[in-house]
């Protein structure tokens, strides 16, 4: 009970701190806005039908950047500054830090995604076919998958610099191969097979089915399942590789474990598709 209180307090404090950092909060909302008007206004020329087709990809890009940069770079920055070291002195584990960071980031990230949907509706008059609940669930599960990926980046990276590089290395394949920037069908077949491993595909596909085709959650179980599984695998790897201090070296044994888990996961995904 006591630990639950501490968790809630830590999460709420994290949320409060996010809103106190004016500059960070400005970019959190400005970035999705910019992308919305670029996609909808410029690429789709404001036509509702095309805006709705593009929106799932756009929402996925927003969730990815929130997860990768919002967590993947922020956490190493906290580690580099020695903030995590202070947390380490308390009798708490990485689980507290990770789950609490997810819980305090989720409402912020979700609000930017809903803002994009609302603006697309108001400005461009899109008509969403699916239900609110199904849309919300798909958004949350997708966001969780990318937050968890952010923690993997944070655990792998030794410092902010390498975290930024890792984020870029992940972001662009996820965006271009994962169907976020354009439909996966445009890719050569060989690349399509590889692209099926990327979680962004499942978020984009899930959102497309719900928002454009009006599918319910039941028709989306595969997408949601893959996203949740990816979330789980990422969290296990991130927790295994978690480091409190910049000076801490990653033990070879833990590195090997994490690599093994990742290889099995990706291998299984490739195998299942074939």
């Amino acid at each position: 009970m006591n630990m639950l209180n501490a968790w809630v307090n830590n999460t709420l404090t994290g949320l409060k701190l996010t809103f106190r950092d004016r500059q960070a909060i400005f970019w959190t909302y400005a970035f999705p806005l910019f992308f919305l008007f670029l996609f909808a206004g410029v690429f789709a020329r404001g036509r509702a039908e095309i805006v709705l087709t593009m929106l799932p990809g756009l929402l996925c890009i927003s969730a990815m950047s929130a997860g990768l940069w919002g967590i993947g770079v922020t956490l190493p920055a906290m580690r580099e500054r020695g903030v995590l070291r202070r947390y380490r002195l308390a009798p708490i584990g990485p689980g507290m830090i990770i789950t609490s960071a997810i819980a305090s980031n989720l409402p912020v990230s979700l609000s930017t995604l809903l803002m994009q949907i609302a603006l697309a509706k108001i400005v461009y008059g899109i008509e969403i076919a699916g239900g609110v609940f199904a849309t919300l669930i798909t958004l949350v599960v997708g966001a969780l998958a990318f937050f968890s990926l952010g923690f993997v980046v944070a655990s792998l990276a030794d410092n902010v610099k390498s975290a930024t590089i890792l984020c870029n290395l992940l972001f662009f394949p996820l965006m271009f191969l994962g169907g976020a920037a354009f439909p996966m069908q445009f890719l050569p077949p060989k690349l399509q097979d590889l692209a099926r491993v990327l979680p962004s595909n499942y978020m984009v596909d899930g959102l497309y089915r719900v928002m454009k085709e009006g599918a319910g959650l039941a028709a989306n179980l595969k997408n949601l399942g893959v996203l949740l599984l990816s979330c789980l695998v990422s969290l296990v790897i991130a927790a295994k590789l978690f480091r409190w201090e910049a000076s801490e070296k990653m033990p070879l044994k833990r590195k090997a474990w994490a690599t093994l888990i990742a290889v099995i996961f990706v291998g299984a995904a490739l195998f299942v598709k074939r």
């Binding site: 006591n2 209180n5 501490a6 307090n9 830590n10 404090t13 409060k16 701190l17 106190r20 950092d21 906290m78 500054r81 020695g82 903030v83 070291r85 202070r86 380490r88 002195l89 308390a90 009798p91 708490i92 201090e245």
Partner: protein, 328 residues
């Protein structure tokens, strides 16, 4: 000057004891601790006990192995050899039990920039089964007026006092302060000394690492001098300075000139020099020499204008033991 004199005479009459000498149980036991980083041996067989209710100093130059030693005690680092027990628990085995019972102020404590002082204390207090009273903590470190200030607006000294308050949020059995005053200006350092003296009055068990000799002399009940990963001397600051071979110096001025040869005849005085009407007497037993000096002056009806005594300091002991000054 005169208080120094009275101090010396009084302590000479009483047996030299401190609270810590009454065999209080050891809260922290470190035995033959070793730690290597590749080829470098940072800690090479350090041993010491910290008893309940004492302020124990680990004194030594930068890179002596002080921080590595306390970080092993805190459970932040693994060790290569030796034994450690903190409140009966081994930090290598039971790190959470150790963490619950100790409070630590790191050499540099970083918190999120935008967190307020009171928020930070409440947040970290929540991580422990039992927490201290936040208002009382704020008073202890004199940060009542900064309770609503954000971390990035605090001065270095205030940040460091907040770090000490964070070390107290769980009402710990042992408080570890790692170089709490390094990098602070004189005023901020004095304020932090007041905080540590408050802890001392509350009979907290404190481990203090420092490379400031004055700090160890002023605050510690006992101290270990550590150099190149070894304890080279340990005891009360007085025992440590008494171990020094260096003699005390008694300086005096008199209304009328006195004969050097007569001064030399005073018991316990080993040598006498004179510069510009001031006499400097050297003695390895300054309190006795002083008593004899005063008796002689009385008998000879010499008028004393000025008198003071300089005892060897911990710095002298340190130089003697290591052959160099501590801040080199």
């Amino acid at each position: 000057m005169t208080t120094d004199l009275i101090d010396s005479i009084e302590t000479e009459k009483r047996p030299v004891t401190t609270v810590a000498d009454y065999e209080a149980p050891a809260q922290v036991i470190v035995r033959n601790l070793t730690k290597r980083y590749g080829d470098l041996t940072a800690v090479a067989g350090v041993s010491f006990n910290v008893r309940r209710g004492e302020v124990f100093g680990l004194l030594g130059p930068n890179g002596a192995g002080k921080t590595t030693t306390v970080e092993i005690v805190e459970g932040l680092r693994s060790r290569d050899g030796g034994e450690v027990a903190v409140c009966g628990f081994d930090p290598a085995e039971n790190v959470n039990e150790v963490k619950k019972r100790i409070g630590v102020a790191l050499q540099a404590t970083a918190l999120p920039d935008k967190i307020e002082v009171r928020e930070a204390l409440a947040l970290f207090a929540g991580f422990y089964p039992r927490g201290a009273d936040i208002d009382r903590l704020l008073r202890t470190v004199s940060l009542e007026e900064k309770a609503k200030s954000r971390f990035d607006t605090l001065s270095g000294g205030q940040q460091q006092r907040l770090a000490v308050a964070l070390a107290l949020v769980n009402d710990p059995e042992v408080v570890i302060l790692d170089e709490p005053t390094t990098g602070l200006d004189a005023q901020a350092r004095r304020e932090l000394h007041d905080v540590i003296e408050r802890l001392k009055r509350e009979s907290k068990t404190v481990i203090l690492t420092t490379h400031y000799i004055e700090e160890a002399e002023r605050l510690c009940d006992r101290a270990a001098i550590i150099d190149h990963g070894r304890v080279i001397a340990a005891g009360t600051p007085r025992e440590l300075t008494a171990a020094s071979r260096k003699q005390s110096r008694i300086e005096l001025r008199t209304a009328e000139p006195v004969e050097l040869s007569q001064l030399r005849l005073i018991p316990f005085v080993e040598s006498v020099t004179e510069t510009g009407g001031a006499y400097a007497l050297r003695s390895s037993d300054a309190p006795r020499a002083l008593i004899e000096l005063v008796k002689w002056m009385e008998a000879e009806r010499h008028e004393l204008l000025d008198l003071h005594i300089t005892r060897p300091t911990l710095e002298d002991t340190f130089i003697e033991l290591t052959g160099r000054r501590i801040r080199e």
